[in-house]
Amino acid sequence: MAIQTPTTPMHHPNLVDGTRRHILDLDDFSPEEIELVMATTDAMGEVLGREIKKVPTLRGKVIVTLFYEASTRTRVSFEEAGKLLSADVINVSSSGSSVEKGESLLNTVRTLQATGADLIVVRHPHSGAPYFMARNLERTSVINGGDGWHAHPSQALLDLYTIRQHRGSISGAKVVIVGDILHSRVARSNLWGLTAAGAHVVLCAPPTLLPQEFLDGSYREDPDSSGLASVEVTFNVEEAIQDADVVMPLRLQLERQQAGLLPTLREYSKMYQVDERRLKLARPGALVLHPGPMNEGIEISPQVAHGAQSLIEEQVHNGVAVRMALLYLLVANKEGPPSTAQDTPSGELPRRIRFL
């Protein structure tokens, strides 16, 4: 909000009044939108608990999952979510499609729009790719299913939902995100979502695995990131976990480690692994979340990963309900009142990609 041109007070597209067309990150989500997603997820969770877990809501709508990167849970849960809402779901991956022949992202998404796709869920190795798509699509919605190191909003929303389910509310909770924050789109989206929902977020990582802005503290001065002013940063995991309500170790992204960021994996796990001893420093009954897939024995010990405080399987279960809610809120009224976002696409597109 801070840097929007002072000329016109622009209407910000949002889910509450049905004007939002894309879900690209949580940095433009209001607390009301987050609450709407949470409440809608409750209703979708009820559908998942039925004997016949299918509703006709999105009958006749076409959802495409376009994945340029490996994924199990995100792709499967979006596909399942679409199918349970009676949409037709088409899965496109980079192998086996014309992407292999060198078709550009722009031509691929234009083709998908021309075939009548109502919504594309995209995962792409390059940060910002979903924004590029959203800018070039007139009729089709985009959900970011993970772009590079940048954002993974549906994962963050399911983390918020899981915390809310167990604590009743997110507001006031101390949430510690531990590990490879530099390469983590989950951490970045969670940062926006958790702070918007009123959580107290602590980031904990070795200095080499933190984005520059968090290393030098400049995130506090950034007028675009005023919501993050309360975020704390520490290199010491014991200090971070002290009295935490939620502990979220991140996967050490072995495939993204350039030489030199870590001395050895063994040293990393010795210094930063969330294990039983360290978890005891947190509040009794603190929740453990992990975005998966896990490297057990590196960022999380097997005892914690499968212990009583772990909600990791529940996260996957909630992932389907959250994604049903997102599909419903974006697609159900697509033929409704012409969205203002269409006229002012910049309103929904990012001010800039941050913290990379």
């Binding site: 409440a39 419903y328 033929e335 409704g336």
Partner: protein
């Protein structure tokens, strides 16, 4: 009488002016109470008691009405009937016309198989809500019969649907709006008609 409603009116998009002269009460709290008592008797008479009977209220205002009918039935017969809550948001065919409704949970506490189910709603108008409710209900099993109880039947059906129990028939013009206000949601009981041309 014509007090301004303390809470938001029915229908998220309707813009109500408080104490507008175009608002006229057509049922008082007393009238609603009597109508629900009569409907409770009619339900018992038609179904010969409470055996196999279940009430399902359509959110939002059908649900408190279903609970009130269940309380009356308890009073008259000495045993209660199960009450379920149905949210039809995911089954509507007019989402594109009216915007995405906020969906709430459906709670059907008992198996619908073989039950005589009475759907309860506040106003019967086009019949599209009831169509959606019937679809939703069948996802929970196969009831023996489905009956429909409404407080107001205002006509203008767009589907072949009729109510089995009606609190009051109110002939209306299409541009008029009926608002049922119930204590549980709106703070007090009454039914008003809006937008009448004098």
């Amino acid at each position: 009488m014509l007090e301004p409603a303390p809470l938001a009116p029915q229908g998220e998009n309707s813009q109500r002016q408080d104490a507008s002269p175009a608002e006229r009460q057509i049922m008082s709290a007393q009238d609603i109470r009597r109508a629900l008592s009569r409907i409770a008797h009619e339900i018992l008479e038609r179904n010969r008691g409470t055996e196999g009977l279940a009430l399902v209220g359509i959110r939002t205002r059908g649900l408190p009405m279903a609970h009130r009918l269940a309380a009356r039935i308890q009073e008259f017969e000495g045993h209660g009937v199960p009450v379920g809550a149905l949210d039809i948001g995911l089954y509507r065919d007019d989402v594109a016309l009216h915007g995405t409704p906020v969906v709430h949970s459906t709670q059907i506490p008992i198996a619908m198989e073989g039950k005589n189910v009475v759907l309860v709603d506040d106003v019967l108008f086009t019949g599209r809500s009831i169509r959606a409710a019937l679809d939703a209900l069948t996802d929970f099993g196969r009831p023996k019969t489905v009956q429909l109880a409404v407080l107001i039947d205002r006509g203008h059906r767009e589907l072949p649907i009729r109510a089995d129990y009606v609190g009051k028939n109110v002939p209306t013009a299409l541009h008029e709006e009926i608002q049922v206000r119930v204590e549980e949601v709106d703070g007090h009981d009454e039914v008003v008609i809006l937008g009448e041309r004098s």
